[in-house]
Subunit: 445 residues, 2 copies
């Protein structure tokens, strides 16, 4: 076997681990290739909130010294971790002056699980303040430095797209995983709510916050979710996925479709065309009218939950919290108990409905974002197309492959019923191959 690329940083996680397992690639060599890529690109991307190259190499050497028969399934896999997730050996600053240099020496559950499986926890990736505002960190879109990489998992999305790391963890409360997935032209999955432990993550909204994963291939997402314990249990309901040919997809524009720009409109059309060309049935469907309440219900839930979640920071020093968040905590919008409960119960009542609807198809096809990444890094873009699925708890995967008029990446989402994550990734793998080949966009990084 020969290594087809001289630079391991270009490999997907699955490819790299195969080489490590075959003793063709050492963890240290792999880590050095990533550090070298970061060194050359960090000024242009700035994806890292914390990175200690010496410590990375020390860990890599330790991993290399482990006997092959004692290695876990992710042995040597470098993983970036969004800086709202605890890591025992690195600070967690939440992009907040209140947490400058704060280091809580414990691994969040997903970090502990990946580390126990042999992952090399590489560094912390940039985030918006507490993963809760739309004001981006000083991270650039690797495809166009004048644009945002999206957020709030800004650094995770940018670093994976820029070949600085094969896999990174993010979170999503509105669109914080799927949006940067789309803006950076990579795969990103928001699993079913509750399918991955969130212990050790900053709390914004308990019912919404979800761990997300970024990678450059669906196999990588499958591997990571598998290790994190995501399982379809005894799968029941819905349609088994046996390939795109004859599969039925439900095209859902949702009530926020008027916010779709030309890039997303074109991507959705092209996505449907490609699927049809390969023998799939793509059927546009309109969700029942109750689903039109989802954007308002999601906003009510997020704002009201923030009131509970950030009391402690507000007490400590409200001048060091963004106005956006203090607005929530002071309930500037005046949400009432009745509105909040209507949102909680309204959303809960639609979860079985969307399961039933999505279960009629191989997957639902829906936009990831309104359009390409906006110009500027102050605003991370809009979560309109994501927040509904976050609140409905369904798994969502962003599939890259399309492009805007400016040549920037645009992804589309596949959605499945709750706890059908494995099924969804099986479908995403086949669909992703087609979109990457025929969608028109290729990364030039």
């Amino acid at each position: 076997m020969t290594i087809t690329t001289p630079d391991p940083s270009r490999l997907t996680a699955t490819q790299a681990l195969a080489l490590i397992r075959s003793n063709i690639l050492t963890v240290e060599t792999y880590a050095r290739s990533l550090l070298s890529r970061i060194e050359s690109r960090d000024e242009a991307v700035r994806a890292w909130a914390y990175l200690n190259p010496d410590y990375v190499l020390e860990q890599a050497r330790k991993l290399d010294s482990v006997q092959f028969d004692e290695r876990g399934p992710l042995h040597g896999l470098p993983v970036g971790v969004k800086d709202v997730i605890y890591t025992r050996d690195m600070p967690t600053e939440h992009n907040s002056p209140l947490y400058k240099d704060s280091h809580v020496p414990v691994d969040a559950a997903p970090v502990a699980i990946l580390r126990a499986a042999g992952a090399l926890i590489f560094g912390k990736t940039t985030t918006t303040e507490f993963a809760s505002t739309t004001n981006g960190p000083a991270t650039y879109n690797p495809h166009d430095q004048s644009r945002t990489p999206g957020g709030s998992s800004s650094g995770s999305g940018a670093a994976v797209a820029d070949y600085q790391i094969p896999v990174a963890l993010g979170t999503q409360t509105g669109g914080s995983t799927i949006r940067p997935g789309s803006f950076n032209g990579i795969y990103a999955v928001k699993p079913t709510w509750g399918a991955v432990s969130r212990e050790g993550l900053k709390v914004y909204s308990l019912e919404l916050d979800t761990v997300g994963v970024f990678a450059r291939g669906v196999e990588d997402l499958e591997m990571i979710l598998g290790v994190l314990g995501v399982s379809d249990y005894a799968v029941g309901g819905g349609i088994a996925f046996g390939g795109v040919q004859n599969a039925k997809f439900g095209l859902v524009k949702t009530s926020v479709w008027p916010q779709a720009g030309p890039g997303t409109i074109a991507a959705m059309e092209k996505a449907a065309d490609i699927l049809r060309l390969h023998g799939a049935i793509v059927e546009e469907l309109e969700l029942p009218p109750e689903f039109n309440n989802m954007p308002a219900w999601h906003a009510t839930m997020m704002a009201t939950d923030a009131r509970t979640s950030f009391i402690s920071e507000y007490q400590r020093d409200k001048t060091k919290i963004s106005k956006h968040l203090t607005g929530y905590i002071e309930n500037k919008e005046g949400y009432t108990r009745a509105q909040y409960i209507a949102a909680l119960d309204g959303i809960a009542s639609l979860r079985p409905q969307i399961d039933e609807i999505a279960g009629r198809y191989a997957a639902l096809l829906t936009p990831s974002v309104p359009d390409e990444a906006p110009v500027g890094i102050q605003e991370m873009g809009n979560a309109a197309f994501c927040s509904m699925w976050t609140a409905l708890h369904t798994p969502v995967v962003n599939i890259p492959g399309f492009q805007s008029e400016n040549g920037l990446p645009i992804g589309v989402s596949l959605v499945a019923p709750r706890f059908k994550d494995q099924h969804l990734l099986t479908a995403a793998k086949e669909v992703g191959k087609l979109f990457e080949e025929e969608g028109g966009w290729k990364s030039s990084l």
Copy 2:
């Protein structure tokens, strides 16, 4: 003003804080009285997982040195913290050998909020393993050393009852706050799910775990929940509470009533009689038949969520986890995705129903426990009467005052619609006065 008791440890939190505010009692004197009580009683109760008297006194002196105009609303209030809740200055061991001597130096959100308000975080109280099993810690019921204090918040319940601390934090996933409240003859509140931040608590089940508070007076619970930010928002729906006279209570036996023993049956009868005697209307009501599914749904949710929550511990060393928990993680019961989703959605669909039903009354009156605390400290008793309300997210308060044939305390619960916690405590205050005076049980501690 004179101190009517020479021993400050006998005071409720509200009483003690009034004396501290008036400069009649120092925090150090108060702390010393509690330490002295603990010294004399610890062998008989063993409520503390961690307690460092020198450190307590050091903190107390620091609090005494703070200018009066710079003091927070809880200045000098000693608070016990269940040992599944992070405290920056003390270990958190979860009663698990996997976490022996583990010290994560960060305050869980409720601890941070109380500390910022001036509370003296006193020590860690005993818990069952991860607050998730029914095997009690080696803590005795202070009223009868041959019996369990209940759990999983065993130490919090026992310490408050035994005058070792005025207020303690617990958690509840099944009945872990209300049950020890009843077994120890004290007040205990499980607020509405989501009303208090759970950041920094061990995760067992996201949809069920709730921070709980123990005290010897309802005023104390009101004060603590107020500081924790629990608010009825713009209260809408339900009946305002203007005293027991003419108030209407709904007596709910629930589908698990056959599990009620003679102590609880008598307590419920007496509770209804006392309320009627004071001019209230007590109306027995039967919940719609869907509510009969609640025990099975709660069990399904708890077991399935545990699968996700304890993967990391299971990976580290499954031989150091109790069989009860490994059974959940390995899904010995064979719960399927369909059963889990049916439980999630079934429970969610009943939340607005119970709000509507409870909203017709000043409060619902329902059992806290099947009976008095059982003999032995291996088994903490049964959560049958609590788990429904935990899953429904309604606030619940245990009111002491009744007794079993053996002279042990038995409490009953009041329940209100979600986010009517303040309303519930207002009602509990008036009802509690009557039950304490006329219910027949008095603490002999």
